[in-house]
Amino acid sequence: MAEVSGVKRITDIGPHDYNDFLHPVIKKNYGKWKYHEILSPSHMVHVSEDGDKIYTVRVGSPRLVSSSFIKDLCDLADKYSGGYLRFTTRNNVEFLLDKEENIKPLLDDVGKLNLPAGGIGNVVANIVHTQGWVHCHTAASDASGVVKSLMDELYEYYVNAQLPTKVRIAFACCLNMCGAVHCSDIAVLGIHRRPPRLIPDRIVNLCEIPSTIASCPTNVIRPDTYNGKPSVKLIEEGCVFCGNCFTVCPGMPIADPLNDGVSIWVGGKVSNARSKPAFSKLAVPFLENDPPRWPKVVEAVKTILDAYKKGAHNGERVGEWIERIGWPKFFKVTGFEFTKYHIDDFRLGEATLNYSAQIRQ
């Protein structure tokens, strides 16, 4: 490992103090904001008790960005927002302006860089996503490519507010779910469908056997021996293809080009507004990986969005709309097939059955 000689090694300093990066108007009005107003899908204003104003201009990013991309943003910030900017949890960039007259020229310059301004209000928010084939070893699908294909198609929904309320879409490339895709209006989830291959030499030499056995949610990885050494065997019928054993043990690779793909989930939310936070529920059990543009995935998400836009009341999230019309109607209006895979048979699954005679006949 390279050592830099003569330099005192600094450790455990923790995150940089955010106070060093706050716009003076934000510093002055910290905790004293009175209200905000959404002026367009690309910008909003926050007004303080003293009447001070800070304008936020929101711009979409592809999350995976070059140093040059960041320097483009820095140049815009220097020109229009005194050098102050921030990011959102959904990978948007926000320029913080104290001069209203700077909004228009900033938006013009954002347009010249071919970046989308939007994402505020009743829009499809920027899709949060994982690393995929670009930078992860457990991915069942790419992430950036599917998201790029989706956002190209949904672009108008990001830059123009034209939905009943906000729609949050998330993508995770395997069941590890780096990000909260399990509570999204629409979630696209990379899945495997074939049990892991067991490579005994690697299992014996590289894997800790007890943690490999413990990694299985359905307890179908069992102790075994190989050449007299502790190993594992797999009861394939009970495998739910989660890939957790591979995360623990490199001797059980699960990726398989013919059987990997994505599933689509709907109706989750994290906000407490009106209804309680909720998991997303299975809509489409499997769509094959179809790079570079995953047309069937794009079509399925569009189908959900179109049905939602047509059927939901103003202010209803996707899950609230489905609760109101009922799941049978959701499958009817989307045309998705309801299969035995949609009926939950895992832990807590019993709670999802219909214990009533309340049916929209």
């Binding site: 209200y35 592809p62 070059s66 990978n91 070893h137 590890n176 949610p217 407490n272 507004a273």
Partner: protein, 402 residues
């Protein structure tokens, strides 16, 4: 354009209106030659529909067990530039606030010593530099600490805490989420950099029930803003909203506890004792309504993604925590609660068991008893509906206790 590789499939993803990650990888490759091989490998993944990164591999910097995630190509001879292409997690400032100066310095280090490719930000919150060679890690680390930035968490450690924008730019904030996040991160540097836990542990701080950090879905400990007193009402502004839309249809009828009513003469009336702080009315009429002034937080525990025993949401642990008061005391009460939770997890948890799974396994009653909290009706949606109760005592004939 890649200099070395033909990438017809990826080139398709340079088309369309949304900014393209392929363009970004290419721009990074203009600054860092090594990144050109990433285009080749990802193109091959697109052809073969399979990933080409090897499993794991331990790398790091001296004295730290986390913050760097090892990443090795499984085709190192074909793509030597990304033979080692590790992730460096850099702890973000609270609220993701930056100046252009510091951002330029952050990405300059990536240009000089690594791939020039970043995530702003990773799902947990860190700035991620994707693609550093093992030999450069120590230099990169020292460059970042000189700039005043430290590494984030990875592996079985405290993961980088994150928060919403809070009081910096949101009138909904019920407590100072950025201050709390920064202070707690500073307090537990050792737990973040040196993994000693059973598995990962995440904190997320959201200053109201809108939960912009999605803490209730993915934080082992979710700290969500709430308030004790009455919603502040500007009746004149309410009237203005009533001119714009049907207040009954879009506000009062949607209140989950039906604690509010409106008519033109009396204005908006709220029975705050029955308000569940869901935020709907405030979200809909931000110019007219604000949370009360006695802000605090609800502490919830146990949410996680599916591995191993299925996804979980966080459940209520402390209905109201006076976090602003505790902040004056450097969050002593909260840190004590955290220590008790971690002690319990250390004592009874098994390898790769998240706290939510442990609580489910041992029973919530046993858990709260062990960390010194009382059972409260706020913790449940309803009391139990089955009679299989583990009564802990019975009486013998003659009055003795069994």
């Amino acid at each position: 354009m890649s200099k070395k590789h033909k990438t017809p499939l990826l080139d398709e993803l340079k088309k369309g209106k949304w900014p393209s990650f392929v363009n970004e990888i290419e721009r990074a490759a203009e600054k860092s030659e090594m990144t050109d091989d990433l285009l080749g490998q990802v193109e091959q993944s697109y052809e073969e529909k399979v990933v080409h990164w090897k499993h794991g591999g331990m790398v790091g910097v001296k004295g730290y067990g986390s913050g760097i995630v090892g990443r090795f190509s499984d085709l190192p001879e074909k793509y030597p530039g990304i033979k080692e292409f590790h992730t460096v997690r850099i702890n973000q400032p609270s609220g993701f606030f930056y100046t252009s100066d510091v951002l330029r310095s952050i990405v300059d280090i990536g240009e000089k010593h690594a791939s020039s490719l970043f995530n702003f930000h990773g799902s947990t919150g860190d700035v991620q530099l994707l693609g550093a060679k093992t030999a450069e890690l120590e230099t990169i680390f020292q460059e970042y600490t000189k700039l005043g930035f430290d590494l984030g968490g990875s592996g079985s450690a405290l993961r980088t805490p994150s928060c919403c924008v809070g009081k910096a730019r949101c009138e909904f904030a019920n407590y100072d989420a950025m201050h709390a996040c920064n202070s707690i991160t500073q307090a537990f540097q050792d737990e973040m950099h040196r993994p000693i836990f059973n598995y990962k542990f995440k904190f997320k701080f959201s200053a109201c029930g809108n939960d912009c950090t999605a803490s209730i879905a993915r934080a082992d400990l979710s700290v969500i803003g709430t308030w004790k007193d009455s919603i502040r009402i500007d009746q004149e502004a309410v009237k203005d909203y009533a001119k714009k839309f049907d207040l009954h249809k879009y506000v009062t009828d949607k209140c989950p506890t039906k604690c509010m009513s409106y008519n033109a003469e009396e204005g908006l009336k709220i029975d705050d004792s029955n308000c569940s702080k869901c935020m709907h009315c405030i979200n809909t009429m931000p110019k007219a309504l604000r949370p009360g002034t006695k802000g605090g937080a609800t502490i919830l525990i146990g949410s996680k993604a599916p591995m191993v025993s299925g996804p979980r949401l966080s459940m209520v642990l402390v209905p109201f925590y006076d976090i602003e008061e505790d902040a004056k005391n450097d969050y002593e009460w909260f840190k004590d609660l955290i220590s008790k939770i971690w002690e319990f997890w250390d004592e009874y948890g098994v390898n790769r068991e998240r706290i939510g799974e442990l609580i489910q396994r041992v029973g919530i009653g046993n858990f709260i008893e062990s960390i010194g909290l009382e059972p409260l009706p706020e913790m449940v949606a309803s009391p139990r509906g089955n009679p299989f109760v583990l009564y802990e005592e019975y009486v013998e004939a003659g009055g003795e206790q069994g």
